[in-house]
């Protein structure tokens, strides 16, 4: 099984009021969704996050929920490439995103706002292409078998 990690970058406000005063809090959040290539979510997988400041020191750790999702709020003052690693039972994936992508707009790609991270597995739109390629490879093996069986029957081809 190979693993796929998708991102959802969202920006939302949390109003809080007391005695007529209102405070709007804006939280910039990144959500990841990890799944196997079968579409099965990587539930309760471990998540490691490295900030652009250091690829050696862990910035945050966590665990995906039953849907393979995990959300965190990167420090907006740290710009650069963030690295997210998800792992479960010897299977996993590492992907990255630019802090410049934290524009406050949900990213495009999937209907629910998630987008495929770099180096992740093939998208569902490429599924047909994958099956065609698999069929071509299988036909290559069958062709090899036919070639050599013909050689046996009739001497040299």
């Amino acid at each position: 099984m190979s693993a796929i990690v998708c991102f959802l970058i969202s920006c939302y406000t949390v109003p809080a009021s007391a005695h007529g005063a209102t405070i709007d809090v804006m939280t910039l959040q990144v959500a990841i969704r990890a799944s196997f290539d079968t579409g099965e979510p990587m539930a309760e997988a471990q998540v490691l996050i490295y900030s652009p400041e250091s690829a050696e020191t862990l910035w945050q750790t966590g665990e995906t929920d039953s849907n393979g999702q995990f959300a965190f709020a990167p420090d907006p003052d740290i710009s650069g490439l963030w690295e997210v690693t998800v792992r479960k039972a010897g299977h996993g994936h590492t992907t990255t995103f630019e802090s410049g992508e934290l524009s406050g707009q949900p990213s495009a790609g999937f209907a629910d706002g998630f987008s495929r991270g770099p180096n992740s597995g093939s998208s569902r739109s490429a599924l047909a292409q994958r099956w065609v390629t698999m069929a071509a490879v299988v036909w290559g093996f069958v062709g090899t078998a036919l070639f050599f069986s013909r050689q046996q029957k009739g001497g040299t081809p």
Binding site: L48, R130, F141, T144
Partner: protein, 216 residues
Amino acid sequence: MHIPDGIVPAQVCFAGYGLTGLLTFYSLKQIDRQGNANSNIPKASLLTAAFFVASSIYIPIPPTSIHLLLNGLLGVVLGYFAFPAILIGLFFQALVVGHGGWTTLGVNASMMGIPALLAYHIFQLRFLGNRQREKTPFWLGTFAFLGGSIGLALTALIFTGVVITTVPAEFDVGAEQAAIVTLMLIHVPLAILEGGFTAMLVLFLRRVKPELLTGR
């Protein structure tokens, strides 16, 4: 049951490639020694195709789903051809399906190829002792079952050993090891299933084309 890129350290990847190189050389040498290699290529090619496709066939075994492997079956039916067949199949799985990885191709080939060679030798045990035993469908099926199931079970054990001992310290090692052991246990029913399938295939070949079965 494929180790993807980035899961094991570089030293393990290098060792995997080294071991795979040696075993490929040894297997090709044995194939050459047995002679008449061309006659076995059609069989090896078709089973390489089956091995390549098998990793895309998932069987739901709660709490997850696992895919077929067929390395034990390849060992039983192909003999020493199994190792290069598995190496080629894994190459195309990494290229087309994304199973495994380029850095771990050697580790995966050794992890699945060594049990395949062992499965071949288990199947050859039918020639030991009683001469009539090799001709009995019961014993033929039994040794094929043992080869097919032990081939997969050993692969699961090697996977567990390699991955469980190389969990990076940044992770919760205990939780990861527990998840790996759970995955290994889930492969027990698959080992029985593949053993049964191997036995059925061997008994079928015995009836329709016995010369395809490896051995004396």
